[in-house]
């Protein structure tokens, strides 16, 4: 089910501002790949090019290739909606649909995919909520508004919503940055569980988090103010955090800047 993602020479702009330049990264299935780096280095921009969410921002454009098991998601005749159905995303702030119940939130993607029938949807909702570790907390109140849950529960609800449609890849853009430490640990455990089934890419500001959850880490940085972000170094997380090759990586992970 999980697939390999390969970005080749991805450059992305917002209007005339070049946010990232020639980023080439290979992301392996059934692993957690962390993208770290200081603010404004283009991590979020890059992760949003992986499911074509970058292009929904007015004035945004990109060049380069993103291959999902060898197929270019920006190729001719490939629709952005199809890409996003197979590459799920979880955002920085929990964003359940505020007017929908817990069940309808999880079912939203299924219904978009044409899944009909109450039992099929109920099964998928339960399976997704169990995978997201939320079932025991919400099983008795599936018809209550999703917005009534705590922040951490809402984020797990959003993860359940994303995995309900069985994507090949799960992208997480700083999924814990709006959460308290306990909720953060819950989500990190969940990420570790999910990597058996999914290719996971996570953007994080929190280096301890990257060290805890990821197998591979890519360090992004900018050359200076206004310059585009690039990948400085990528490798096994254990190596990046103990003996990185590049001195800028070392400076960042030892807390000398960023």
């Amino acid at each position: 089910m999980s697939k390999r993602i390969e970005a080749e020479g991805v450059t992305a702009w917002f209007g005339s501002h070049k946010a990232i330049e020639s980023v080439s990264v290979a992301i392996e299935p059934k692993q957690v790949t962390a993208l770290i780096g200081p603010s404004g280095c283009g991590k979020s921009t890059f992760i949003r090019t992986l499911n074509r969410m970058h292009e929904v921002v007015p004035g945004a454009r990109m060049e380069g290739k993103v291959l999902l098991d060898g197929e270019d998601i920006y190729g001719d005749g490939v629709s952005a909606t199809d890409v996003r159905r197979s590459i799920g995303m979880v955002f920085q702030r929990p964003n359940p649909f505020p007017t929908m119940s817990i069940r309808d939130n999880v079912a939203a993607g299924l219904k978009l995919n044409g899944v009909r029938g109450k039992s099929a949807i109920d099964d998928a909702v339960e399976r997704s909520l169990r995978l997201a570790g939320l079932w025991d907390e919400v099983s008795t109140r599936l018809n209550r508004p999703g917005a009534g849950l705590s922040g951490g529960q809402q984020q797990r609800l959003c993860i359940a919503r994303a995995i309900a449609v069985e994507p090949h890849v799960l992208l997480m853009d700083e999924p814990c940055s709006a959460l308290d430490p306990v909720s953060t640990l819950t989500i990190e455990d969940l990420i570790t569980d999910l990597k058996d089934d999914y290719t996971i890419v996570i953007v994080t500001h929190n280096m301890q988090q990257a060290a805890r959850v990821s197998d591979v880490t890519a360090f992004f940085n900018i050359g200076g103010p206004g310059e585009p972000g690039r990948v400085v170094e990528m490798g096994a997380t254990s190596k990046i955090f103990t003996k990185p090759d590049d001195e800028r990586t070392e400076a960042y992970i030892t807390g000398r800047f960023g």
């Binding site: 929904v56 909606t81 159905r85 955002f91 917005a147 709006a178």
Partner: protein
Amino acid sequence: MTTTDATAVPVRPRRQNPRGDQVFHAAATAAGVAVLLLIVAIAAFLIARAAPAYHRAGWRFLTEREWFPDDPSRAFGILALAFGTIVSAVLALILAVPVALGSALFLTELAPPALGRWVGHLVDLLAAVPSVVYGLWGVYYLVPRLIPVSRFLDRTLGFIPLFDSRNNTYGRSLFAAAVVLAIMVLPIVAAIAREVFRQVPTADREAALALGATRWEAIRLAVLPYSRGGVVGAVMLGLGRALGETIAIALVLAASFKVDIHVLEPGGNTIAANIATKFGESGAHGREALIASGLVLFAITLVVNVVARGVVYRSAIAAEGRP
């Protein structure tokens, strides 16, 4: 970093009731009370001045179509006026709301931002045109051009009474009045709906798009549910405007006092237009009767507003609880 007592910034004790707070408190209270008093004063004025007319007409005020308050041998009542008011306003909304919401969705969700801003300003300009101009434009330009439209509706849908003109006359009808009202209501509803749609958090739209929703599916999943209360408010404001519109209706309609669903036929009247056209020529009894009709209009708009508040309030509760 820890702060010890020695390095702590000394905190000056705050005065308990600074003068600014008191002034603000008094001014805000006065403003709130003034608004209440104003509404009570208007209602009291209407009731006091209308009472003699109600007394003369009795319950027939609610069931009578004719309007001869100055003639003791003839009757007067609100029925035809209230009918024309509500029918023209509802028709206007039926025509205006889909276009208004469609344009607001296009300008906020689909159009390039620069285009959206410019077209938005143009729509806003429509709201700034005085209603007497709409009335003149309606009677000289629009009414003649609506005649072929009315004839077409009559020929194709004439088996439905609403679209039937029994003597094949068209023109200064409730339908024409409703079209003019629709054009007047459109920019208000569109402008408010646009602001409402803009309030929808980007995060909600992106949540839908990231699940693989198309633009329309994202609108249906994220934009419309979130903005339901605001849209209802926009429509109700439009309804209020349509119910109370006076001069444009007075110019467009060939006034007559009938309760007739054949809205393509000339004739009909509304409360506001009747007050404007009749006030000058009325005697003392006539004016009391007009004020009595004004009180009915006041009551109708009050009910509309209370219902709208209820809807907005309920959907506001449904949208609550985000972190």
